[in-house]
Symmetry: D3
Amino acid sequence: MKLSARNQLSGTVKSINKGEAIANVVLDVAGQRLVASITVEAVDDLGLSEGAPVSAIIKASDVIIATDG
Amino acid sequence: MKLSARNQLSGTVKSINKGEAIANVVLDVAGQRLVASITVEAVDDLGLSEGAPVSAIIKASDVIIATDG
Amino acid sequence: MKLSARNQLSGTVKSINKGEAIANVVLDVAGQRLVASITVEAVDDLGLSEGAPVSAIIKASDVIIATDG
Amino acid sequence: MKLSARNQLSGTVKSINKGEAIANVVLDVAGQRLVASITVEAVDDLGLSEGAPVSAIIKASDVIIATDG
Amino acid sequence: MKLSARNQLSGTVKSINKGEAIANVVLDVAGQRLVASITVEAVDDLGLSEGAPVSAIIKASDVIIATDG
Amino acid sequence: MKLSARNQLSGTVKSINKGEAIANVVLDVAGQRLVASITVEAVDDLGLSEGAPVSAIIKASDVIIATDG
């Protein structure tokens, strides 16, 4: 599968904090911490668990740029 | 300023492709390519140019997770 | 590849309106019209053209519900 | 009311999984399953329940395109 | 029509900057400037022009909070 | 810090409804009610509580426009 989403970062699942509807999944992406809020259904469907290799996919229109200025 | 957005990655501007309303800004984040689609107004307002140090800010609810399965 | 995004609709490309940075891609999904705004880079990278079979992928957190009330 | 959002799909509520803050609402849209993550407040405000006719509204900039390639 | 989106702010169109695919529409919302990036198709479909009364609709999951800290 | 996000509205925290993973934070922005769904981690990290002065930050691509027509 090939995606129009321009940003696809490889990483590993570090922890999962499940609520009833949504779970926050913490990833390690090249030493940087990344958090994804996804449905609990998706966590179960993908069989996510600590240590699992995953990709973080982010549409270019969802990226904000910040400067120090 | 402190943000609720959980994901803030440091990088550098590599190139800017400006349209009339929207510009695609390509970043180098720890050796990985990241693209942000922002308004041309924001590019000008932040004074973005090649080589500029920036952060990419991404809300956790905008991150999709993918597995190979 | 398996995605956490809950919504994946099969369709066909009907037309592509390219700007400089962003393109609007019109899809036919089971007889319904769907529009996706993606980068021109993605259109080229995926080799999209009229008639191409594609999927529209939408994160559950990006869906708004409306009622008539 | 007329919306700039290009994608408005008619469907029916199939199930609602309520957490404390967010609920996942599963829709049937022309035989296809669609999930929307919305606030619990919105579920109550709209009086959503199984079988209710609704529309799923999705901004074009939130649609990712995928190909098999 | 009633929407699950929690944020609906009344305002007026101040200016429209049209590209080929996307237009940036500047609104005045209670004296505050608000910018919406929407498709050019939507600008035409809604017949937007300077001075037109409109609402800005924003899903709660798209709002980031910032503090000075 | 300067942000590409075009919309930054000053307000005050009115209430916080915490789930396990996500919290809905209600703001008063110039007399208007605004809701932000953010991670519980962010609520804690920013030390949000009733009465706290904050900004609501919204990317232009996340704003939908509605007319009465």
